[in-house]
């Protein structure tokens, strides 16, 4: 199956356009693509007519150009016939937005669609999904653009069974400055499933991190998925729902009782270096960290702070997440001490966390970060930057970023996320240094790098 036509189409047909209801999903999709995306879009409705001065094509075969992707938004009963027409007309693939299939008991309709598609080697996403968000080419989400929060273009691909979770994560990505390459809601995943998406993104040059929200796998499908993820050279992150056992089943063996569905899921993912996010916060942090760094770490963290309390909380959090905060050697401590300004030299502490105190200036951060970037005693730097300390300037984020990019050691920053401090945050983020909005979030980022052996 060639999925390229699905994700990077040059021409798009939206089937099921209404001439009377502007808020029909097909119309929303047509409008946003017509006005704001690069793919050329054609409206289709079996009654024909004119929409906003453009001809509405009665059948897909009436469209004068070869159509790469058909977005199907007609009633469920009509979908198999439309799909047959698309196949007949040589369309490259389809997104079936319509619901009313397996999720409402009409598995027969869904199976019919799958068998048509399989016979013709015709790829389709859905049904019962939002489809594909692939800027600048196109967007099949039936959500008005002005209602969506759109993340920047970046390197994380998001795949979700649930459209709602997908859009929510896009909002969080935008908020946290995580860049998105492509987002796909696969809905009932009748034909194209997680495994197909993994295969596509593994070789998609615009994607460096592949993240999934999923509810579960079919028979033995999880096995194929983890084996493929293990072979994939890019980090794979999974957030799963449905972890709580659905009722107590009578089991007659200790193994069956102790190896519950979720216990197995979690253990097998980690065995194959798939990074499991336990919740949505971890999901966003992991995506951000792994989109910035593609080398695994052991997890020996060096911490720079101006507040003893922040340092202590960070140490505790590292400890509970399987990371260590090794005490720096005497020699290392002396060297850092030598590098900082005379004002803080006597009052700072150097053992790790390095507490530069509220008197620190930019150069003190730079000296400490330079040293930590260079030493083998730690393999990840955590900077807890509190912009209200009087001695630092708005250049600090960018300056620190340059140091770590130079040395190649991962740096993670914590900066309180309020509008006033955005210049610090952007100083890091625009230089591809991940910034967390909490200490715990920063530690999650380090943990992602430790757990991702494949990255």
């Amino acid at each position: 199956m060639n999925l390229k036509a699905l994700f990077k189409p040059k021409t798009l047909a939206v089937i099921g356009i209404s001439l009377t209801n502007d808020r029909h999903p097909a119309n929303v999709i047509y409008n946003k693509n017509n006005l704001r995306f690069q793919a050329e879009v054609f409206p289709v409705n079996d009654r024909g007519g004119i929409l906003q001065g453009e001809p509405v094509y009665p059948r897909i075969s009436d469209i004068p150009k070869k159509v790469d992707l058909a977005v199907i938004a007609v009633r469920a009963e009509g979908v198999p016939d439309i799909m047959a027409q698309c196949i007949q007309a040589g369309v490259g693939g389809a997104v079936v937005i319509s619901g009313g299939f397996a999720e409402t008991g009409r598995r027969d309709l869904q199976d019919l669609m799958v068998s048509l598609a399989r016979e013709a080697d015709f790829p389709f996403i859905g049904p019962n999904c939002l489809g594909i968000y692939s800027p600048p080419s196109m967007d099949t989400f039936f959500l008005p653009s002005e209602r969506m929060v759109r993340p920047e273009t970046g390197t994380v691909a998001l795949v979700s069974q649930s459209g709602g979770i997908l859009v929510d994560h896009m909002t969080k990505f935008a908020e946290e400055g995580v860049g998105l390459s492509l987002a796909v809601s696969i809905g009932n995943k009748a034909q194209i499933r997680e495994l197909d998406m993994l295969g596509y993104f593994a070789s998609d040059p615009t994607t460096e991190v592949i993240a999934f929200y999923l509810e579960g796998f079919e028979h033995n499908e999880g096995r194929e998925f983890v084996l493929a993820a293990h072979r994939c050279p890019k980090p794979v992150i999974v957030l799963k729902s449905g972890k709580s056992p659905g009722g107590v089943r009578a089991v007659s063996s200790h193994t069956a009782s102790m190896a519950g569905d979720y216990e197995v899921f979690s253990a097998v993912l980690s065995q194959h270096s798939v990074v499991e996010a336990k919740n949505e916060f971890e999901m966003v942090s992991f995506c951000e960290a792994l989109s910035c760094y593609n080398r695994p770490i052991e997890g020996r963290v060096g911490i720079i702070t101006v507040s003893g309390g922040h340092g202590a909380l960070a140490v505790d959090t590292c400890f509970t997440h399987g990371l260590s905060v090794p005490t720096l050697s005497e020699g290392a401590q002396a060297e850092i001490r030598e590098g900082v300004s005379p004002r803080v030299r006597a009052i700072a502490s150097y053992s790790n966390p390095i507490d530069l105190t509220g008197s620190a200036v930019d150069d003190d951060f730079v000296a400490a970060a330079k040293f930590l970037s260079d030493t083998d005693e730690i393999d990840c730097v955590l900077i807890l930057l509190l912009p209200y300390t009087p001695g630092i300037t708005s250049d600090l984020g960018a300056r620190l970023s340059q140091i770590c990019r130079q040395e190649g050691k991962p740096l993670i920053a914590y900066v309180p996320h309020v509008e006033k401090y955005r210049i610090f945050i952007e100083g890091f983020e625009l230089n591809r240094i991940p910034v967390a909005h909490s200490i715990e979030g920063a530690v999650h980022m380090a943990e992602a790098m430790r757990r991702c052996k494949a990255c």
């Binding site: 063996s253 102790m258 190896a259 253990a267 065995q271």
Partner: protein, 226 residues
Amino acid sequence: MLKKGIRDILSASKDAGWVLEPEAKRLFSLAGLDVPRFTWATTVEEAVRFTRKISYPIVMKVVSPRIVHKSDTNGVAVGIASDGDAAETFDRFSRMEGFAGVLVEEMISGLELMVGAKIDYQFGPVILLGIGGTGVEIYRDVSLRMAPLRQTDVESMVKGLKAGRLLEGYRGSEPINLSELTRLLVTFSGLVMGLQEFIESIDLNPVICSPNKCVVADARIMLKVS
């Protein structure tokens, strides 16, 4: 490909839905795992005659297709040290539901681990290693991996146990033979790959590990309901 002997045991156990312990042990022995020397005795005389080969103290367990959890019904007796004790125990077991004989076997000592397998709907065969004995579900100290296992998987499974240090020798006790444990787990996981069409789950509990060897001291194979 499964050995013929193994396939025969599975098909003979189909109706019961699980494999009786003596047959399960024969199966694992055929697959290359260590089991205690044992016999399946149907008379007191047979039982006593076998003790001459393995010498006291011995272990006796009831064999019954109706009793899956033997220790819950007092169907296990350890440390039996005389012909008289053996005869008395045999007599007691013979009155149990579905009595089909007595398993007589040598007593093994060492650290009790548990090894298990389950055919998971999403991931297929998975292997469990844990701290064994009757308290397994209280401690729930287990590591899980998808089969087949490699040597490195076994190392990380041991590391993943909270009580993993017990295996390395703790406060004067000798370490268990880790290469034998690895051999057992790798062989077992290979066997489970071959058995996946037939089984639902397997408990080897306990597997008794010493500095010399790892022995499957009890085994239960639950078959797939067809």
